[in-house]
Structures are given as structure tokens and as C-alpha cells.
Amino acid sequence: MEAALDAGLAAQAPRAEARQTIVLSVPSIVCGNCIRSVENTLRALRGVEAARANLTTKRVSVVVDPSLSSAIDLTSALDHAGFPAAPLIENAETEQAARVSELLPRLGVAGFAAGNIMMLSVAVWSGEASDMDSSLMDLFHWLSALIALPAVAYAGQPFFKSALAALRSRRLNMDVPISLGVLLATGMSLFQTMRSSGQIYFDAATSLLFFLLIGRVLDERMRTKARGAAENLIGLRATNATLVEPDQTTKLVLASTLKPGMVIAIAAGERVAGDGEVISGQSDIDESLISGETRPRAVSIGDSVYAGTINCGGTLRVRITAAEDNTLLSEIGRMMLNAEQSRGRYVRLADRASQIYAPAVHVLGLITFIAWMVIGAPWDQSLTHAIAVLIITCPCALALAVPAVQVAAMSRLFSKGVIVKAPDGLERLAEVDCVVFDKTGTLTTGELRLEASGVVDVAALDRAGSIAAVSKHPFAQALAKAARAEGLQTHAVESVEEVPGSGLVTTSMGFEEKVGSAAWAGVKDRNASIWYVAEGKSAVGFNFVDELRKDAAECVSELRHAGYRVSLLSGDRRAAVAQAAAACGIVDWTAEVRPDQKLQAIEALKARGFKTLMVGDGLNDAPALAAGHASLSPASAIDIAQTTADAVFQGDVLQPVIETLSVAKAARRLALQNFAIAILYNSIFVPLAMAGYVTPLIAALAMSGSSIMVTANALRLRSKALRLPNVGASA
């Protein structure tokens, strides 16, 4: 699209050197009006030459003069218009798009060649039965050769390259028998055309490429879509930071441009953009994404804060301290790298099949040649039969078997809000027999809810909720929400003063009322999160708990019922974890675990022979996510967790975890069925080929027949009703 945009603009804007194309991810564009508002908002900015929204990818390409408007100006203008946006790191995305656009023209050429050669072949086949004279048949064969040779040379390249790369590293993959089959079919057909013989397989070679390219394009498309959606999710979480210059002026910058020594201001409710030390102000920091702890931590001058945490109280000034190598993030990164290496050795199903299949096929071809020679056939006839074996075994069905199922599975999950990112993610998910959950933000929603403790003091809740409604502190907001949930009408309270790190105070009723922490409100009892104290009355405590996702208990019991081992690993306090574990019915739980201990726990499970699915959302889960046999993250997770996880699920229920596991298992079952179909097809046609009965017509029918069968079988996955199968049930 950029190409089209640039081409369109080249004529209009002569100063090409002053322009830059910025791609923004804007996930909230859903309709025609959004396109119009987004484009008009951007076009109204200074320096913007052109803006074009893409509804499919939910991205906007903006051609802009960087000296007049920066990426920050663009995103903040869109934020104001109600479309949260984030600039994308470009190279990764364009590389992906380039690969798809390289496959599509090849698909077009293969389709053209297959169609036209088939037209000529059908004429020859029907001519064989009637009165076509041999010179015309030769003409048609030469025409076919003329179309097939350039088409195979161009459209077959992705397979040839991959096969060559595999052979160079002394491996075998599916592309080796494919390339061999296509090249031999084309070569032998050319030879037979010169000898005016009837064994011409140009149609088989080109339609084989056509079918396989369709599979590749669909596969690549689905992956690009998933990766794009994942990038969009993460892009939005990358924060901007308010930089405080030495002369005290402030400026909005990208968090990624922060350097140690810079000072940033963090307002209430904002995400901390980098690791640093507080130099002024005091506040509460929500560190649930880092430590799993739900209770905000009080910070003041001299304390450290970490990127990804949320400032709940007053405004803070933070000096960025983290130099390249000693941030919390890079420490976690090192652990993840080590953990990921073990996963890199996973061999995919199709590759495992091809390691058995490819040698078997080549041996069969050789046996055919030798056998025909032994019984006294001339060498060229023996070779023809041997090549026919290789053509008929060329693994069209086998090569489509897995990708077709994966595309069907991924698009089914995509429509349910689960984005599968890892290419081999589904296969690993299918092998899982043990699920490890994180607590905060995974089993729970990460939102605070008033603990239902019998009698609620409605009058106090009403008044406290009204006062709390003015604050952005998570406890205060939860209190206001709880008051509204009780059916109480919260009133606007005048002159509420917020004391950062402590609470809220007002004298609007003529006497002092405080809503805040126990120590500050002067209460000895520490059994509640927040207290309401009115002058002359006894204090009322409100305790908040992190609410479990609606279906957490149901999901856990369904998993346990299906034979999965379910455990809970959390960085939160022992009491909180025990309570959540009890509510979900998880017996095996551990509290107060550090990131490296989570990693060790996963490794220990692996050592005991479990294939673990890690479900987590925080920075503290990231190493464990990388170490698990497979991993899932909610879309609310910190970006590093989302990048590490094999799949990301959206929404506020846990059902997608079950859905993902069931679809992964169903996909594996269908892939194996497809292998069975492919093997059945081979066991019928290979003996025929070895006996020398295969004609080009039979080859064409058999090949398309088996390809269509495996594809149709894979498509069943789209509409099939699924139940989570038991662990160890036959796949």
C-alpha cells in the first residue's frame, strides 16, 4: 500500500526528501466513518501530506514532513479524536508483507499455467480415445512445455529454495520430495515430448504447484494477520513519557527514546515508562504486572520504580536510572533467552513425517527402477516407471495436510479472540497435559472488588463512595464502583483533598471525613484495605479482593475433569493466593514466588515428564512462559509476556484457554487423519505406479482428488462442535 501511496504522491509532491512514511496501529477503526474521521484528523495536521487508513490491518499510513509533525503529534491528535494509536516498528511488518506479496504472483502464474495446460491436456486425453492425429498431439505437448517450463521455474522457487536449504544443512523436509517430484515430472515430460511419447506430466507438475501455493499463501496470510493483530495489541501498550527538560519545560516523547539520567513526570493513572528512582512526590504504585502483588506499594523520594507499573496516587518525578544491561527487563530477558533455547529444538509434525516419508519414497523409486531392469525392461522404460512412482508419491496431500488444518484452526481461534502467533504453537498446545496458572490478571481480572463480608454499612459506603469517586487510586475507584453496585447514588462531594499515598479528606459536611489507609485514618485494625472515618463516629473498614474471572472455577474444574494437572504459581501474598486457589479448586499452589522460582517450578515439572502450558500475564511470568512447553497470555498482559506467549487471548473470561486446547487437540487429530488419507492414497496408487499402470490422466485425478480430500477434511474444523478431550485420549 505504501508503494501505491508513494506512487500516487510522487506526481503531486516534488520534495520527496522531506517526507517520511509513518505507520500507526489504530485498533479501534471498525467502519467507514472511523476511516473518514481518522484520515481527516490526520490530514488536518501540519506537515501531513497524506493519510490512508487500512481497515483490514487496522493501520494508518501517514506521509508526513517530520520537521512539522512527529509521530507523537499524530498519535496524540488521534487520541483526542477517540482513536488510541501507536506507531509501529516498521521493518518486522514490511518483511512479512513482502513474503506474502512474493507468493501471490507465483500463485497467479501457477494458476494460469495449470489452467491452460489442463485445457490442452483434456484435449489430448479425449483425443486419445477418438481420432486426434499424432502431429496435433505433439503440438499440444510442445505448447504445454512452453507454458510449463517458465511457470515451474518461477512458481516453484519457494519450494526449491527451501529444499536446497534443508539439503545443505543435511536435513530432509517436505519440500525435498516436492521439488524432486516437480522437477522430475517436468524434466521427464520434456524428454518424452521430444520423443513424441504419451507420458506427459506437465499438467500434474503445474497443478501440484498451484495447490501447494494456495496452501502456503493461506498459511502465510493467517500468520501475517495474527502477527499484525498481536503487534497492534502490544503497540498500544508502549507508552509515551512526559520528559522534563532541565529548564522545567515538559515534552511528550516515546518511552523507547528515554535515556538514563533523563527526568520524567508521571501523572496519576499513568504507566511508568522506564526503570528509575523517584526524585520528588509520593504515591502508590500498582506493581501487579511485575510482582503479581495486588496491593499497591507506597513510594516516596529515593524509592525505585519499574517500567510497566502504574502510578495510582500523586504526580511523581522519576530520574531514569536503568542503563542498558541492568534493568529489571534485561535481567528477565536473559532468563527468557535461556528458557527459550530448550523450546527451539521442537520438531514439527510435518517435518517428522517427512523424515520418514522422503527416504521411503526415494527407496521405492529405486526399487521400481531396479526391478524393471531385472525383469528385462529397457533402461528408459524402467526409468519412466521409477519417475512415475516419484510423481505419484510427490506429497501434495501430505504437504497440504498440516497447513490446511492449521489455517482452519487459527482462523477459528482468531474469530474467538485468540491470536496464535507461534508457527508451531498449535502443535505444542496439543501435547499439553499440565496447566500452570498465574493468579493476578490471569485467574483474576486484576480488578479490585469489595469483599462481601456479611453486613455492609450502607450509609458509610454511600458517603465513602461519593468521596472516593473523585480519586484515581484503584482502591478509591473500587470503592466508588462498589457503592454504585449496591444501588447507591454517589453524589459529587466538594473540596475533597487528596493526600498522596494516604487518602482523601473533606470537611464539606461541616466535620472532617477521611477515606484512606489505616495508619493515616488513625485506625489500629489492619484487616481492611481502606477505612472511612467520620469525626465522632466509629471507623468503617472496606476490604478489597482481586476478583476471580467469572468462569475461573468452572474452567479449572473442566481442565481437572479432563485429566489435566492444574497448579497455581503466584508472586502474591500467601493468604491471597490460598483464597484464590480455594475458590478455583486448585490443590497445588505456591505463593510468593519470584520470577526465577517460577522458571524453576516449570523446569521441575518438565523434569518429571509433564508438558506444561503456562498461562500468565506479568513480567514475572515471562521466563516461565518461555520455558513452558506452550504458553498463553491474556491481551491485558504486559507486552513482553505477550511477545513470549504462543497465543494471546482477548476478553475477560478464561474460556478461551479451554477453547484453545480443544482446537489444538482437534487440529492434531485432523492432521493425523489427513496423514492417514495421504497414506491410503499412496498405498493404492504406488503399487499401480510400480507396476507401470499409471498414466498422466490417472496421476492428475489422483493428485487433485487427494488434495481436495485433505483440504475438505481440514475445513471441518471451522464448524465442528468441540469438547475438551481427556489427556492421553487417543489423538
Partner: protein
């Protein structure tokens, strides 16, 4: 039989034209935003990419 002399080249030429049209459409980004295209069709806005001169004229008005 002589009809084949022009029928076969005609069929191949038509096929080639189809292929060329597909490759052109691909290269010029016609398939990039299939979702957006259906909305743009019913939009009243002039879908031409707005340039600076368009905008300044608009501002004047």
C-alpha cells in the same frame, strides 16, 4: 482443424491478459484493504488523497 490455429492462441492470449490484470492489481495494492474498500464505496468523501493545496483551499473557503 484450421480453427485451432487461431483458437489456441486466442485462448492463451485471454489467459495471459487475465494473469497480467491480476499481477497489476496485486502490485498496485488493490487487494491491500478489502474491508475498507466496501466502506469507501459508499462514502461521500472524495477519496482522492488530499494534498496540501486541497487543504489550504478548504481553509480559505
Amino acid at each position: 482443424m484450421t480453427s485451432l490455429a487461431w483458437l489456441v492462441p486466442a485462448a492463451l492470449t485471454l489467459g495471459m491478459m487475465g494473469l497480467a490484470a491480476f499481477l497489476w492489481a496485486l502490485r498496485s495494492g488493490q487487494f491491500d484493504d478489502l474491508e475498507g474498500a466496501k466502506w469507501r464505496a459508499i462514502s461521500d468523501d472524495n477519496d482522492r488523497m488530499a494534498t496540501k493545496s486541497d487543504r489550504s483551499q478548504g481553509d480559505d473557503a
